[in-house]
Amino acid sequence: MQVNGEFKPKIVAFCCNWCSYAGADLAGNNRLNYPAEVKIIRIPCSCRLNPMFILRAFQRGADGVILCGCHPGDCHYTTGNYYARRRMTLLFSMLDYLGIERERTRVEWVSAAEGAKFAATMNDFVQTVTKLGENRRLEDLRCKK
C-alpha cells in the first residue's frame, strides 16, 4: 500500500496463543514500538497455521506473513510447533522455488517472556518487507483497488 508516496507493507502476523501472543502483549506492556503495519491474528498454536491462510493473505494484499510460536520444545501442546516448523520450511521452500521472494515469509519463535524479541522481530520483518516492496508475484489484482 502506498501512503503519501511511501510504501507501507501489509503484514499479517499469526501468533500462537500461549507464547507469541503473550509475547506481543508483553511488548505492549513494555511500550515497545513496532510498526502499525503488523496486524496480529491469534491462533491456538503455530500448528494451526494452514498454508492456505498464508496464500490467502497474499491474495488479499499482504506483503509479508510471519508466524510466531513457542520455542521448539516449549509448545503448550508439546509438539505443535515441531509440525509447524516442518510445514513452514517446506512451504517457504516451495514459494522460493516458484520464485516468490523468500523474505516475505518468516517463522520466529517468541516466548511469552520475549516482548523485546517480538518487537525487534516485527521491526526487522517490516523493514525487510519494505525493502522488497509490494508483493507482485503472489498477488490477486482483483483484491487490489
Binding site: 522455488y97 521472494e101 515469509t105 517463522v107
Partner: protein, 325 residues
C-alpha cells in the same frame, strides 16, 4: 506381453478373482483405457498390455476394492507404490485385491513420438530398439528411447513393492536416476528466472482438474478446491494467483504422500511439468528430514506428520538453494 493377458484369463477362470483391472484396446495402438474385465471373452477380445499402458491403475482400486468379490489388478512398479500408499491411508480394502506385479521397461508416449515429427500415426510395431510407425503419410521409424514418456526417462524404481504374484523379475530402486536434476537446475536459477519459468508454465493451466483427478494421492472425498462451505472453493484459474494457489496447495496436500508416479504431468493437456512441484517437496524432505519414499512401505511415518527436535528452522530456506534473491 501375452503372458499378462494369459495370467488375467487364468485368474478369472480359476475363480480366484471375479474381476480383472487392466487396460483395454483403443482405436489406435496408443489410446488404451483402464478397464475392468468380468469375463474371459472380454479379456480375449480387448485386454492388452503394451508399452502404452501408462495409466496408473491404483486409484481405481479405492472404489473397486469396496465392491463385492475379489479383483485382480495388474500393477507396474510405479502403480505399486501408489497402491501401498493408498493402503497406508486405509483407502483400499486389501483382502479384495489380488495384486499381480508386472515389470515395465518404460512406457511410451504418443506425444513423444509425434514430437519426433511423425504425423498421423495409425499403428506401430517394435523392431528391437526401434518403433516402426505406420502413418497416413507412410512408414516412419523412431528409436524406442525417444518414444519414452518423460517420466520414464528418470525412472526411480523398477521395484514392485507389494504383490501377490509377480510376472517376470522384480527390479530395484535406482538412486541415480537423476529425477531431481531438473529441480536442481531450477533451484540454481535466480528467483526472477524461477518466477518467470513458473509463470510461463502455470499460466497455461486451464484448471481441467485432470492432474488432481488422476492423482492417487488426491483422492479426497471432497477437494478443498470444490468446497464452497469451507470457503476455499476455486473453480476457474482466474489469474496467476489462483493458478499458483491451486498448484502450491495441491502439491502441499500430497507432500509426503506423493509417490512420484508422474501421472499429473502425463495427463496435463497443457504439458505443465507438474511433477517438478511434487519432486521439489520430495527432494526437500529427503534432504532435510532424511530419505523417504512414499508408498515404499506401510510403516514409515511420512515426513509431514513427523518431526525431530533438532529439525532445521524454516530460515534454512533463506540460505539454501538458488543463488539470488
Amino acid at each position: 506381453m501375452q503372458e499378462v493377458k494369459q495370467k488375467a484369463i487364468e485368474l478369472l477362470q480359476s475363480g480366484k478373482v471375479q474381476r480383472v483391472l487392466g487396460w483395454k484396446t483403443g482405436e489406435f495402438f496408443y489410446d488404451l483405457t483402464p478397464a475392468v474385465f468380468e469375463t474371459v471373452e472380454e479379456i480375449k477380445k480387448d485386454f492388452v498390455f503394451s508399452p502404452f499402458c501408462g495409466a496408473n491403475l491404483s486409484k481405481y482400486l479405492i472404489a473397486e476394492s469396496r465392491k463385492e468379490g475379489k479383483i485382480a489388478a495388474f500393477l507396474k512398479p510405479c502403480d505399486s507404490y501408489s497402491f501401498v500408499q493408498l493402503l497406508k491411508e486405509h483407502r483400499i480394502v486389501r483382502e479384495n485385491v489380488h495384486v499381480v506385479g508386472v515389470q515395465c521397461n518404460g512406457m511410451c508416449d504418443i506425444e513423444a513420438i509425434k514430437a519426433q515429427g511423425v504425423k498421423g500415426v495409425t499403428a506401430v510395431r517394435q523392431e528391437g530398439e526401434t518403433l516402426v510407425c505406420e502413418t497416413l503419410y507412410g512408414e516412419k521409424s523412431v528409436p524406442y528411447a525417444a518414444a519414452l514418456s518423460e517420466r520414464c526417462k528418470t525412472c526411480k524404481s523398477k521395484k514392485i513393492v507389494l504383490f501377490d504374484e509377480l510376472l517376470g523379475e522384480n527390479g530395484e530402486d535406482d538412486p541415480d536416476c537423476g529425477r531431481f536434476d531438473l529441480v536442481s537446475k531450477l533451484e540454481a536459477m535466480t528467483a526472477e528466472e524461477r518466477f518467470a519459468f513458473w509463470q510461463q508454465e502455470l499460466s497455461r493451466c486451464i484448471r481441467c482438474n485432470a492432474c488432481r483427478n488422476v492423482c492417487p494421492a488426491c483422492s479426497c472425498e471432497k477437494c478443498v478446491f470444490d468446497n464452497d462451505t469451507l470457503g476455499t472453493a476455486n473453480k476457474a484459474a482466474a489469474n496467476s494467483f489462483e493458478e499458483q494457489n491451486f498448484h502450491i496447495i495441491r502439491a502441499f496436500h500430497v507432500a509426503g504422500r506423493c509417490t512420484d508416479c508422474g501421472e499429473c504431468s502425463r495427463v496435463c493437456p497443457q504439458h505443465i511439468p507438474l511433477h517438478l512441484l511434487n519432486r521439489k517437496f520430495i527432494k526437500d524432505t529427503n534432504e532435510l528430514y532424511g530419505e523417504y519414499q512414499a508408498g515404499a512401505d506401510l510403516e514409515t511415518r511420512p515426513p509431514l506428520v513427523d518431526f525431530t527436535q533438532d529439525d532445521c528452522e524454516p530460515s534454512v530456506v533463506y540460505t539454501r538453494g538458488g543463488n539470488g534473491k
